[in-house]
Every structure is written in C-alpha cells, then in structure tokens.
C-alpha cells in the first residue's frame, strides 16, 4: 500500500521509505517553512514598526489591520504547502464575503474565527515552529552534509593521508539515511499541527453545506416557477384556442341540416375537440394544480381526495397559507402517496392528516392496505424523498408487510 501521509511512510520498511519521495518532500516542506518564517517575520516586523510610527497619523492603523489579517495569507500558503507531505487537501475555512469590495472582505474576515486561528498559527509559527525547522535542517542534515564536504576544504592540507578524508565523506553519507527519519517525523508532526489549527471547523463546513442545500432548494423553486409558466401558457394559449375552435364548430353545426353528412362530420370534429380539451386539462393539472395557487393546501388536498378511487378522509387544518414552495411540495407528496395507495396498497380507505407544529408542516398519509412499500423500490417514493429533502425536510415511511402504510413528511416553513 502506498503511504498517504509522512507518518505512514516512516512506518514502512526502511528501504521503501528511504527510496520514496517522502524524505525529500519533508526536507522541501521544512525549507519552505524556514523561508516562509523568515519572510513573515520580516514583513510583520516591518508592518508593526510602520504601524507604531504612523499610528499618530491613523495611517498606522491600516498597518496594524494588515498584521491582524496576515494570518489569512500565511494560512492560505500553509494549506497549499501542506500538500507536499499531506496529499489530502485542506479546505479553505473562510466564507465568501457577502458583497464585493475590499471593505466587505475585511469585515467578513475580521468576524471569522478562522482568521484569528490563522493569526494564532502565524504567531506560534514565528515564535517556535520555524526555529525548530531551521534547527532540524541545521543539526540533522547539517552534520552529515558538513562531514561529507569536509574533504573538499581540506584538499590543500597535504599533511593528512587520503584515507581519513574519504572516511569523513563515507561517514556523512552513512548518517544521511538516519537523518531522514527525524526530518520526516518533524515535518509530519508540523503538518499535523498545521492541519489541526488551519482546518475548517464543523460550523464553518456547515455554513458551506447549508449553502449547497439552499442552491438545491433554489433549483426546485425554479422548476416550480417553470411549471407554473407552462401551466399559464397552456391555459392562455392552447386551451383557449381549443374553446374557440369548439365554438366555431358549434356555430357551423347550427347552419347545417340535422342528419346531413356535414352535420355528422362537424359532430365528430366537436367530439375530437372535447377529447383534446379533456386531455389538455389533465395534463395541466399534473403540471401545476391551479386550486393550490388559488386556495392553498387544504383545498388542493380535498381536490386530490375527491379524485382518488379509494375513499380518502381529509383532516388538514392550517392556521395560515404556507410558503408557496412548501405548499407545492406538500401537494405532490399527497398526490404521489394517494396514487400509490390506489395502485399498490389494496387499501379500502386512507387518511390525509396535516398540522403546523410551530414552524414545521407535518403531513401524514395513512392507509389500511397491505403494506410492504419500499423507498428504494418505488421510484415515486424515492423521487418524493429527494424533493422533500431539497425543501429542507424529511420523508419517513412505515410500511410493514401486512400493513398499514404511513408516509410522513416534515417540511420546515420558516423563511
């Protein structure tokens, strides 16, 4: 198994470890740590001095602000640098500023705990870590390397024999593999420390997760808006033309004698137009139920119950109209559940129950059928679960073999 981290690499077989890129990566990590430390120290000392000197002119405050925010830059570079010894990327804990512009950026950053953790890391890094980096490189690598190069400086000195000189070099080379261990272990420890401090906290990840589910809800909303637009278009366009066509045929029918061939054709045309109209009506109802928009959930559920071939008792009492996306989701939950009851359950009756509990709509569709409904098996129920989840709610199902079946949807109504 290829090691995924420096720690894992160290515990591999010595030959495998020494032949791998881990020691080199660790050295690179520590060297970049020293460089970053020196650079940060220089910049921060400069900024602090400038801030202290210019504080009277208030301009200095900008320098202090830059010091406070320096951790953001250091943190970003550290997260990027960490990939040398830890290939698992570290997500950025920062949120995107709500508005564009520097002021909004600074304001957002100053409010984030991540910014202050990064500043803390920078201070610790400057106070201790990069010295240890330098010490590690200097002692652990410095000793063997200086042993190796000693003969080069002593070439002019003819007093010693050739043998001892080459011994220095051999000793240096022999020490190098041993140096690889402490270097890699320190690099790994420093990496773990960086990860612990610079990784996003759950709450910070949580903010991003909420953002994702919100965008899913937006997508569902966009679909609903689109469905309503289609419904409007069909209503204002195709449906009205069909009615106008029907009227024209009706008027023409008045002009021809009963029993004539023309009358027969016109009657057939009239029948056809009515069938088209009926189909269009069904289609429109499936796309978007008009009664839901007009009268809200209790009326639309009653309507669904009326259409169900299985007798349905409706017990829906809500204190107010709910947000449109909730109403639409709830309507389709009832619609799909009642369709399932009629198709699969063999039930002789069903109940739709809905109440608003504080800010959550709790909707239950219960039947006395054979049970055995399965979220994984039925595509309809799985689709509903997705839809409910996108609205921030959850769908629960109880359907033991032999029944009864209960579908319960909980939909948050706040915001």
């Amino acid at each position: 198994m290829t090691p995924r981290t420096a720690f894992q690499a160290v515990s591999e077989s010595p030959l495998g470890f020494l032949a791998s890129s881990w020691p080199w990566r660790s050295v690179a990590y520590l060297i970049s740590g020293v460089l970053l430390g020196a650079l940060t120290a220089g910049v921060l000392i400069g900024l602090l001095l400038a801030g202290a000197l210019l504080a009277v002119a208030l301009v200095g405050l900008v320098a202090f602000l830059a010091v406070a925010l320096s951790g953001v830059a250091v943190g970003r570079f550290e997260r990027w640098r960490l990939r040398l010894i830890d290939p698992d990327p570290l997500p950025d804990p920062h949120r995107r500023p709500e508005r564009a512009g520097r002021v909004a950026w600074v304001r957002t950053r100053l409010r984030e705990p991540a910014t202050w953790r990064e500043l803390g890391y920078t201070v610790v890094s400057l106070g201790a870590l990069w010295w240890i980096d330098a010490l590690m490189l200097g002692l652990v690598l410095g000793i063997p390397i200086s042993l190796m190069v000693t003969p080069l400086f002593e070439l002019q000195d003819q007093s010693n024999a050739f043998f001892p000189k080459i011994l220095y070099t051999v000793a240096g080379l022999a020490l190098l593999p041993f140096a690889a261990y402490p270097v890699t272990v320190w690099a790994a420890a420093r990496g773990a420390l960086a990860r612990a401090i610079l990784a996003p906290r759950d709450a910070e990840l949580g903010a991003q997760l909420v953002e994702v589910s919100r965008s899913r809800a937006r997508l569902v909303d966009a679909f609903d808006v689109e469905r309503r637009r289609i419904e409007r278009d069909l209503h204002d366009g195709a449906q009205q033309r069909l009615v106008a066509l029907s009227m024209a045929i009706g008027l023409a029918r008045l002009e021809v004698a009963d029993g004539s061939t023309a009358a027969k054709h016109l009657t057939a045309a009239q029948d056809e137009a009515e069938r088209a109209h009926a189909e269009l009506r069904e289609l429109i109802r499936g796309v978007h139920p008009q009664v839901l928009t007009d009268r809200g959930l209790p009326a639309s559920v009653t309507d669904l119950a009326d259409r169900s071939p299985v007798p349905v008792r409706v017990d829906v009492e809500l204190p107010r109209r709910l947000p449109a996306p909730v109403e639409v989701t709830a309507h389709f939950v009832v619609s799909e559940a009642l369709t399932n009851v009629a198709r699969h359950s063999g039930a002789s009756g069903a109940t739709v129950h809905a109440r608003l509990h504080v800010d959550t709509l709790v909707l239950e569709v219960r039947d006395d059928g054979a049970g055995g409904a399965d979220l994984a098996g039925g595509t309809g129920l799985a689709g509903l679960a997705d839809r409910v989840a996108a609205a921030g709610g959850r769908l629960l199902l109880s359907s033991p073999p032999g029944g009864p079946t209960l579908v319960r949807a909980e939909l948050p109504c706040s915001g």
Binding site: H235, L242, A244, M247, G250, R281, V291, D303, D306, P311
Partner: protein, 214 residues
Amino acid sequence: MLRIVVAEDAVLLREGLVGIVERFGHQVVAAVGDAAALTTAVAHERPDVVLTDVRMPPAFTDEGLRAAVALRAAYPGMPVLVLSQYVQPTYAAELLDSGGGRGVGYLLKHRVGRVEEFMDALVRVANGGAAVDPEVVAQLLGRRRDPLTRLTPREREVLGLIAEGRSNAAIARALVVSEAAVAKHIASILLKLDLPPAADDHRRVLAVLAYLRG
C-alpha cells in the same frame, strides 16, 4: 330576449360568446375583460343574466368567481352562469351556496361548443334554474361515497342528470326510458338519501345539490 353581461378576459373567447348569444337573439349589454369592469357593468345595466369566466386579471386566480358570489350577495336573485376551464368542486360548491342556489350555473368552458345545450343552460339559469357541469356533478357525487353506495348505477346516473338541472322528460330522453320509470327512480333515490319527495323539480335539484355539498 335576455339582456346579458359577458365577462371574459380573452378577446377571442369574448367575441365568440357574444357571437353565440346574439345568434340566438339575445342582447349583450356589456362585454368586459375583468372583475372590476364586470361589477360596474352589472350595477349599470342590471342584466337578466351574467356570464363570467373564473380566471381573470389582475391576479388570474378566481376573481371572476369571487365577483360572481359578491354580485349575488349585492343583487339577490341575480342569475349568474360561471364558465371555468377546470373541474373544481370547491368553486362550484361556493357558487351554488350563494343566493340559495337559485339562478346559478357552473359549466366547463368547452361545453360552449355544444351551442344549443349551452344556450339551454344559460336560459335555464336566467329563469332561476340551475346548471351544473356533468363532470362537476360526477366529482360532487364522488365526494360523498358512503350513502351513495346504496344507489344502483342507474339511480346514480339519474341523480347526476337531476343535479345537472334536467327535467324528468329530458332525463327520460337521455336514458331512453319512459318518464314514469324516471319518476320511479327519483322516488327511490330520494327515499334512499332520506330526502322527502317534493313536487317542485327545481327544489328537488337544490335538495340533491345541498345534500351533495354537505
């Protein structure tokens, strides 16, 4: 000749409706495109009957229906025939509840194509009768299953036709049976539904509808 106010926002259909009623010798005293104009026109013209769409500007929900119910409250006995694109028992029940169910109708729009039947319904409503779309009746029947299971399929059929506002003679023609047979069915229906038989056809319709709405 009836004096009629027509309210329909789609010009194509409005012109069509005006054409049809005028073809039958009635007079359209106002043809308007929204609920506010409808209310004004009725106040001005005091027509014999109002013919209105459900969905109209500005919100395109149920302005027409609400205007109709309001008009029937403001002018008791004002006959109103509502045309809808949808089978919507909730709307129908609300309308039928107004004004004690006299001179009221609820038809699906495409019935207008059956020009003679449509005009029959309009005249019936203008004369204080009722006209309910068969599809709406079917749904209203579906709503109250339990007591209706006692009816035979033929009796359900007859009840549907009664609810539409047909006379015994019309029902007999529609079902190709004698009027006596229809009368027998009706007596049986009213008995099974615990409704005392009444002499007046019109009151019988209301009784049935009231029961169905209940």
